[in-house]
């Protein structure tokens, strides 16, 4: 494979390996690299051994190299230090793009990188391709995905964050089946072979380490809104803070959790951490059962990745109906308790 440049991918990890968002960013980086005849290097801020463990799952992704930046250099998450490191790696590899998932960390690190280098940053990209050297075409999300923007980017090194609902890696086999240059590289470099990991020592100043996470603790267990299989949603139609008990009971019966719309949290009926939406949590459950929610843009931006949307609403013309699979037209204060008792009956028959 005759690569014309490097694409650096900032990968975040969790105990089970590379984070899901970073896997999507990797798929995005792979497509982008193909458009530019470039190769993808994955950068992990992990010690060599952890980095090697994390990339073992990547052997079929056509990555050409793995770079580990260990805890000797950076003791924990430090956004400016991560950015400075990426900038030094980009300089030495002559990178044409640096890609990260549009997570809190990914967005933050790339913003620092943009500020340090004076380069533009395009956030929440869905797709990108190189048109000619330094000239990019992008599709990115606006209004948290309610609008798409087609944009032209001029940058010798494109700094891009990848939207959480950018196309996932299931397009990878297609790329491989096409027999493109990327797929050939994947086989030669990857499958089966133990990943080779290069350790990089960045040159950092005290100022780069001025902001460093004092504590970072991912949640352990418990059904979180973001990852729940079923979410029962409640909106203005619930009527007040006392109306949520039947919805919570329904959520429990379905093995899910309660989510609410922005009006519910801004009225103080429920805590903000239960908000589904652009300024709350993005959900992607198997079932989103939305009760008394009209479906404002702000809300739909947080729930459109749901596999099935079922609505209970009094208003047949509510915007959410046009995004749903099924709807019951009716008052949730009557329908939800009836649904709860019907579910209980059908379960007790088992």
């Amino acid at each position: 494979m005759n690569a014309d440049g490097r694409v650096l991918l900032l990968a975040e990890t969790e105990p089970s390996g590379i984070a899901e968002e970073s896997m999507r960013a990797l798929a995005f980086a792979g497509r982008l690299a193909d458009s530019a005849y470039a190769a993808v290097d994955v950068v992990l801020f992990e010690d060599r051994e952890e980095a090697a463990d994390a990339v073992r799952q990547l052997s079929s992704y056509g990555i050409s190299g793995t770079i580990s930046v260990g805890s000797n250099a950076i003791p924990g998450y430090a956004p400016a230090a991560w950015a400075k490191t990426l900038s030094q790696l980009a300089d030495s590899a002559d990178a044409i793009a640096i890609v990260a998932a549009a997570t809190d960390r990914g967005s933050e690190v790339l913003a620092h990188l943009g500020a340090m280098t004076g380069l533009p940053v395009a956030a929440n990209c869905m797709a990108a391709r190189l048109d000619s050297p330094g000239q990019w075409r992008l599709i990115r999300q606006r209004w948290a995905g309610s609008l798409l923007e087609e944009a032209a980017l001029e940058a010798h090194c494109a700094l891009l964050t990848v939207a959480a609902d950018a196309p996932a890696s299931d397009v990878q086999p297609e790329v491989a089946a096409d027999g493109g240059a990327g797929a050939g590289g994947a086989e030669a470099g990857g499958a089966g072979a133990p990943p080779s990991v290069r350790v990089y020592e960045p040159d950092l100043s005290e100022a780069d380490l001025r902001v460093c996470a004092a504590e970072s603790a991912a949640a352990s267990g418990g059904a979180s809104l973001a990852t729940a299989r079923v979410v029962v949603g409640g909106g203005r139609g619930v009527g007040g803070p006392d109306g949520f008990a039947p919805l919570e009971e329904l959520a429990e019966l379905l093995g899910g959790v309660l989510g609410v719309s922005r009006v519910v949290t801004s009225q103080g009926w429920r805590p903000h951490r239960q908000q589904v939406g652009q300024t709350g949590t993005k959900i992607s459950p198997e079932l989103y059962l939305a009760c008394g929610i009209s479906g404002a843009i702000q809300h739909m931006a947080g729930c459109l990745s749901s596999k099935h949307i079922v609505v209970i609403n009094t208003d047949e013309d509510a915007p959410i109906i046009s995004h749903a699979d099924y709807a019951v037209i009716g008052d949730l204060t009557e329908v939800v308790p009836a649904l709860v008792s019907a579910l209980k009956t059908s379960m007790s028959r088992l």
Binding site: D104, A111, A152, G268, Q298, V328
Partner: protein, 263 residues
Amino acid sequence: MDILVCVKRVPTVGGKIVLTDSGEVDTRFSGFTVSPHEECAVEEAVRICEQQGGTVTVLTLGPPEAADQLREMLALGAHRGVLLQTDGREWGPIATAAAIAEAVRGMEPTPFPLMFFGNEAADTGGYQVAVRVAHALGLPCVTGIKRLELCDGVVRAGRDYRGGQEVFEVKLPAVVSLKEGINLPRYPSLPGRLRAKRAEITVRTPSWLADPLRTLELRVPEAPRQRAEILGHGVAAVPELVRVLGELGLLPQARTGGDGTAA
């Protein structure tokens, strides 16, 4: 403590975003507001000053009409308003951050011990103006913040991290970008509104810079679904709803069985 809060005027959107013939968000009937994260940033600043004393300055970059959004924030309890007035052109994050940094250098106090931003604007969602301003001013910056404590010149700031938490401790002066959920903004009081109406707003006119990221076209994504199938009305529709949930493999007892999830 004297706190600067930067806010952005954005279209109010309800159930649907409509684009005009020229491909911009149609605001004729919807009006404008301040991005939600930023309203919380103003509320947080006002609360800090209510406890510790000090002033809250709100700054925005936008057309002359953006003074309306400054007055909304003054009505919440901010003390001063600064408008970096533009001619209505789209300003990218690099130009916006440069203009804000330049304005801040010329303001009292220099620098503000705390500068607040919203984590991202509702419309463009660029996630970077706060960080760019911090770099231009040589200040530390933390983003995505949902919990904030101030103690002895140090800000202790927490944010969500993979369902858990991440905490940063930074010496002032510092730049902090906040997220909705850190507080519940108050409604403006009547005296607040009257004061806001009379307040003088400082106006400056920074110079525009082209952004290397240029919008070619905005479009509404194709709806992933058609209109919903109506299962029925009221309680009478419940058996049908239960049947559909079962068919989709979404009932608790259906999880282990069959091919119901293939849909």
